[in-house]
Symmetry: C2
């Protein structure tokens, strides 16, 4: 079982869209995937058709020591499970900040998952912040996947998460996650800015940057409003094609270790 954090402190770069649709495509290929929604805004939870519920989210295991297994829900897709989030999860940050162990707490709480249900992947959708929920995801993950939007601030954000946040956590022995992949998102081929962002990311990170690029397409924004993943909402469209290609590449890269 691999634990993967999808993280980028910059907002609106496609973390949730990637967490939901990559997981759906992996489940379609027969992998058993648990999506953990670590964002109190619970976008991944609503995108997968569940209603955020104050009684069903990681606040209870993290703060009240309830068993993590009780928080897991099925989704309408076979092989795809969800640990939902809710606004209450925001309270975790202040509580854990006042305890000493905030980085290792999430890891402790998720430890029982390795025994459960033969999960292939646990995919964590992180919030757009540098707070404790996000840094806990980095501290817990085996692999880090960073979606990078093809916009000017995208490069700075990548440098921030990789060279500043992850590097200093690794130095302090708080994280062992490796930067497994960078996924270029919301690519709009008509803009020179998008192409220059792609060139710059690929030149600095030739191995980490996935070949698959996620194009900007209205359908990816519409799918969650119907509580559907892209492969259910628009299975023949460019968004579904791209996320299926991403899932294939994700699996292929793991075979090559």
């Amino acid at each position: 079982m691999k634990i993967i954090a999808i993280a980028n402190q910059k907002g609106g770069v496609g973390k949730t869209t990637t967490a939901v649709n990559l997981s759906a495509c992996l489940a379609e290929l027969g992998k058993r995937v648990l999506v953990i929604d670590l964002d109190p805004q619970a976008n991944a939870t609503t995108a997968l058709g569940l209603t955020p519920d104050a009684d069903v989210n990681l606040y209870h295991p993290l703060v009240e020591d309830t068993p993590v297994e009780e928080q897991i829900r099925e989704t309408h897709l076979e092989n795809l499970f969800l640990l939902p989030a809710a606004l209450q999860l925001a309270g975790v940050e202040v509580v854990l900040a006042q305890q000493g162990n905030h980085h290792s707490r999430l890891k402790e709480v998720l430890a029982p998952l390795t025994e459960l249900d033969q999960l292939d992947y646990v995919i964590m959708d992180s919030p757009p912040s540098l707070g404790i929920l996000m840094t806990s995801a980095l501290a817990t993950a085996d692999d880090l996947l960073v979606p990078v939007q093809c916009e000017f601030f995208g490069i700075q954000a990548l440098a921030g998460i990789y060279q500043e946040v992850l590097a200093s956590m690794q130095e302090a022995g708080l994280a062992h996650a490796r930067l497994e992949g960078i996924i270029l998102t919301m690519y709009d081929g008509r803009t020179r800015l998008a192409r220059s962002v792609i060139e710059e990311v690929r030149s600095h990170f030739p191995k980490e940057t996935y070949k698959t690029i996620i194009p900007r397409t209205v359908r990816l924004g519409e799918a969650p409003s119907h509580c559907k993943t892209i492969i259910e909402y628009d299975p023949a469209g460019v968004g579904a094609f791209a996320y299926r290609a991403l899932a294939d590449e994700f699996i292929q890269r793991r075979r090559e270790y």
Copy 2:
């Protein structure tokens, strides 16, 4: 002097783009504006042509009690000033969480500004989170401006910040900010989703929703990569037109009190 928070916990909805370009247009009209960058990612700082600097940001006043006036910098635009951010600002959240007074601390630190330099507006660019920096902005502001992206998650985000976060802070006497305005951003007229988001926001908030809508335009994404505001980068384009109209509407609404 009015203190305005530009806030929305959802990522990538145009907070920074609005903070920078609305402020530039107000300065162009002769208003004296201070932009306060409250986001450790410092996007507003780089967009205004300054380099994030660990020695020049609100960490020092908030945590070390240094005078706030020492943190203020000129920009290359007349009438437009900046209190920059830097990654160091992220450390404020853990420090303030461990003290009792985290909501009122920013207000104390900014109090001297009312005496300074006859500022007309202080405009705070907030981070995409529900953490202490963002809630401090709500606790300090006279007015709250919420940019809402014309996407599905935009409606949930608006409900979140207004009905959950601001309402509970007001109930607890922690905030007196009123929801002065909702600004619809990144409007892509070709999508039915965008039009339905606009309709829904306007039907629930007829008075608060600004008439001006900010269209999606590549130039607004490119301007910060040249360290320019939209009125310098593309003064005749739709982005400049929209933000100038927004500034006019902003001033007009204040005359009508």
